[in-house]
């Protein structure tokens, strides 16, 4: 457990120093402030479509930090050095998942509040959006990390990561945007289920990818 927190602490500090924390937040706010310029300042239209737009922004924002999640540490030999100490790659990926979500999920949820104000969303929609993001951001973080482990060591991995992650993120977008309109609560359950599945798979699949990429 102490080991896990040591790794999480380092990953958080690295994320903080490399300014990866502000990139998704700035992206989300930028999209939210540009969207009214594109569709016009019609409050009703903005209120109806803004929630979905924020989900797309959150999805794309989750791809921004992908190329600094695994590749720099792999190239610097840090992953090898951790492995030498008998620490499983699964532990490395779990630690990184925790750190990545902490530096991505909550800041994004906070940034959603001013973004929602820019798009004239009503209180009910904001509450649904925040609940959906709480359930969905672990999945986005896990997906980003998984793609980062798969593409680490490849050239132009950033572009490839986007191509790999976006098709896999479609269900998240459907269920995420679905939570906004639907009153039955089914969409949020599907979203949470997708989150659980991705969070459960990522440590094992990511660890296998890191081991396979070792040369």
């Amino acid at each position: 457990m102490k080991l896990l927190w040591l790794l999480v602490g380092r990953d958080l500090a690295q994320g903080w120093r490399s300014a990866g924390l502000w990139l998704p937040v700035a992206f989300l706010l930028l999209v939210a402030s540009l969207y009214p310029f594109a569709v016009g300042p019609d409050a009703a239209l903005l209120g109806r479509t803004g929630g979905g737009m924020l989900w797309i922004a959150a999805l794309l924002a989750s791809l921004l930090p992908v190329d600094r999640l695994i590749a720099p540490d792999r190239d610097a030999g840090i992953l090898d050095q951790i492995a030498l100490r008998g620490v499983g790659e699964e532990m490395v990926v779990i630690a990184r998942l925790v750190a990545h979500w902490l530096s991505f999920g909550p800041p994004l949820m906070l940034a959603t509040l001013p973004a929602a104000a820019l798009l004239k969303l009503d209180g009910g929609t904001i509450a649904k959006l925040e609940t959906g993001l709480l359930a969905g951001t672990p999945a986005l973080a896990a997906l980003g990390l998984l793609v980062a482990t798969l593409t680490a060591g490849l050239r132009s991995s950033g572009a490839l990561a986007g191509l790999l992650a976006l098709p896999l993120a479609v269900p998240l977008l459907i269920f995420g945007a679905g939570t906004l309109g639907d009153g039955s609560g089914a969409a949020i359950k599907f979203l949470a289920a997708a989150s659980l599945l991705l969070v459960a798979i990522t440590p094992f699949a990511g660890a296998a990818a890191i081991r396979a990429g070792r040369e």
């Binding site: 380092r10 610097a76 090898d80 050095q81 030498l84 100490r85």
Partner: protein, 206 residues
């Protein structure tokens, strides 16, 4: 630290579909040192990674008793952190105390540079920082890849002394180098002696 051992039996290595060497056997007990020599590309670094368990063997077996510390061409220190904090992460992971870290910094004559960010260090200073990481970790088996590269003569002496102390304390050192090192190693392994196929085989095939 006593009881450390590193055994290679009939090890062969294949990288990128090409066999680098085969039939390498070596047995090192506590206090044993080995020097791997050979020209560039012969597989010295690969053999060290095999010893570390980071590469699978193509044939043969590697058995280790005791922890391993590896110093290869990659620094594995966070570039933006001051040197002592970058090293402290590994020391904490190794369960080594601040005393071990201070001792390692002193052994590599880095105490004065402890507050300098890693990215500002010169090539030789980075190499010494890497060796300090190995010393501070307290692992019995040291795998050093070209430890003398970029070191000035004073630092080479420090390296020799550190290796000597480690061997005297019951550690194991395997160093790969294409140039002579000031390291007293009883075993010298020239990888050129372990070609992927026998010359006779080639003649027979031809």
């Amino acid at each position: 630290m006593s009881g450390a051992a590193l055994r290679l039996s009939d090890v062969a290595c294949v990288r990128g579909g090409r066999m680098l060497f085969r039939g390498v056997s070596m047995a090192l007990e506590a206090g044993g040192g080995a020097l791997l020599s050979g020209p560039n590309g012969i597989g010295k670094s690969s053999l060290l990674r095999l010893c570390a368990g980071l590469l699978p063997t193509f044939a043969g077996q590697v058995t280790r008793t005791g922890g391993v510390a590896l110093a290869d061409e990659r620094l594995a220190l966070d570039m933006d952190l001051p040197l002592h904090r970058a090293l402290a992460f590994w020391a904490r992971l190794d369960g080594a105390g601040p005393d071990a870290l201070a001792g390692a910094l002193a052994a590599m004559d880095l105490s004065a540079l402890a507050d300098i960010p890693v990215r500002m260090l010169s090539t030789g200073q980075r190499k010494r920082a890497m060796l300090a990481r190995v010393i501070a970790g307290g692992a019995p088996i040291w795998l050093l890849d070209e430890p003398g590269n970029g070191l000035d003569s004073a630092s080479l002496t420090l390296l020799g002394e550190a290796v000597e102390r480690h061997l005297a304390g019951g550690g194991i050192v395997v160093a790969a180098s294409h140039q002579p090192l000031p390291v007293a190693a009883p075993v010298t392994l020239a990888l050129a002696d372990y070609p992927p196929f026998e010359p006779n085989d080639a003649e027979a095939a031809a």
